[in-house]
Subunit: 247 residues, 2 copies
């Protein structure tokens, strides 16, 4: 399966999609589920943080980490000494989840209190990048995915730094997206009750950037950081940055 599979015009059902089986089928409220690349990738690319679930001796762990997507691969990195990466490097099954909390929904009864959200669960097997060129390229992507073109302006990584960093790659074998975006949804009879109901939007927002206090005189903020300005939604900035750097 390739994400480059052409989409016949007007044929929504033929959109490239991840395969579905018992692992990733959205069972509860299945009308909220989707498996097509476009939906899954849009949710992934609007995020920089994921949670990775993995198993060590029967004990599940859930570790937050920064990640990025290229094609149908997910990458994340960490110290070469990390427990998480050591235990993920051996083609172990992992589940990578990304969630955007978009609102809290206050209904007229407790049962219909809810939240709007966009989430993806991606399943696959993780392995360490061992090829030095592949690893170096991934470390550049890790920065440029967030801040397109930034790597070229940095002090280059030393051999020691590259050695101290491990990069994990996971081919997405299966994935599902689950989206709720409907705000208040009460029982028909409940709309007649004199009870307040509302949707409280939530988003991750960028604050006022704080320059390093030890900047050399005359060092200006580079143009590649312009999208990171106070008040912007992080998911929108990340989506744009991904399109510009990885596409």
């Amino acid at each position: 399966m390739s994400i480059d599979t052409p989409v016949p015009p007007g044929s929504a059902d033929a959109r490239p999609s991840y395969p579905v089986d018992a692992t990733n089928r959205v069972k509860r409220l299945h009308e909220r589920g989707a498996y097509d690349h476009e939906t899954v990738h849009a949710i992934l690319d609007a995020a920089t943080m994921c949670h990775v679930a993995y198993v060590v001796d029967g004990q599940p762990y859930c570790t937050p980490t920064l990640f990025w997507r290229e094609g149908n691969r997910l990458y994340w990195h960490g110290s070469s000494a990390s427990r998480m990466l050591r235990n993920q490097s051996d083609s172990q099954p992992v589940c990578v989840t990304v969630t955007h909390l978009d609102s809290l929904v206050l209904a007229r009864c407790g049962f219909n209190h809810s939240a709007d959200y966009r989430s993806v669960m991606a399943f696959g097997r993780a392995r360490l990048l061992t090829d030095p060129a592949e690893k170096e390229r991934a470390l550049v992507m890790m920065v440029d995915r967030l801040f397109p073109d930034r790597s070229a302006h940095l002090r280059p990584s030393t051999r020691q730094e590259i050695k101290a960093t491990s990069v994990v790659v996971m081919e997405i074998d299966k994935a599902s997206a689950k989206v709720r975006a409907k705000g208040v949804a009460d029982e028909d009879d409940d709309y007649a009750l004199p009870i307040h109901a509302e949707r409280v939007p939530i988003s991750m927002v960028i604050g006022e950037p704080e320059p390093c206090p030890r900047l050399l005189p005359g060092v200006e903020r580079p143009a590649h950081l312009a999208p990171y300005r106070a008040g912007r939604r992080l998911d929108e900035v990340l989506t744009d940055a991904h399109a510009r750097s990885i596409g």
Copy 2:
């Protein structure tokens, strides 16, 4: 172990803490780790969403869900038909992780790019609440933890609604907090380079509340929602709400 263990005055080391073993010991950058209840609970109570890792037939899953803490117990809920809850109800080991992304850190080299964050990994075994009174109380807490006093203003839950909802409780056996809050931290020599570095603050922010379009005339926004106003940080509102509703 009880969270009510008295803390001898001036004895920071005697603060009530979660036990530490190989499962929850923070290995990488252990100076960022903490196990005391105060640190762990503050990170949990500033959040409403967690990610729960669990294992089914050797396959890890990572599911986002809303949760809350009372004492050293975590609660979450879902449909009685949910795969996640069914597979968590049998005293299976789970890992509940909460993460606040507080900044992106742009350094003078790729290696020192980082993020400020607060996270907790909590380990325990999940079981379904079966006692009807306990379950009903938990469903009230679920709403009031977010919006103190709101339950009293709602149409009461029906027997069918309560039956359709499952509540999971997990006693926290072990937990660790990991916090990075230092912004830019470059190699000593790198501060002499003419390269821009900065910290980009990130936070979850409340937007303008959207009243349900079908509100009855004359229904005012209740006072218990006053903290949910546009521009406020969600983590601060949640911390206050938790203190007022559960304490």
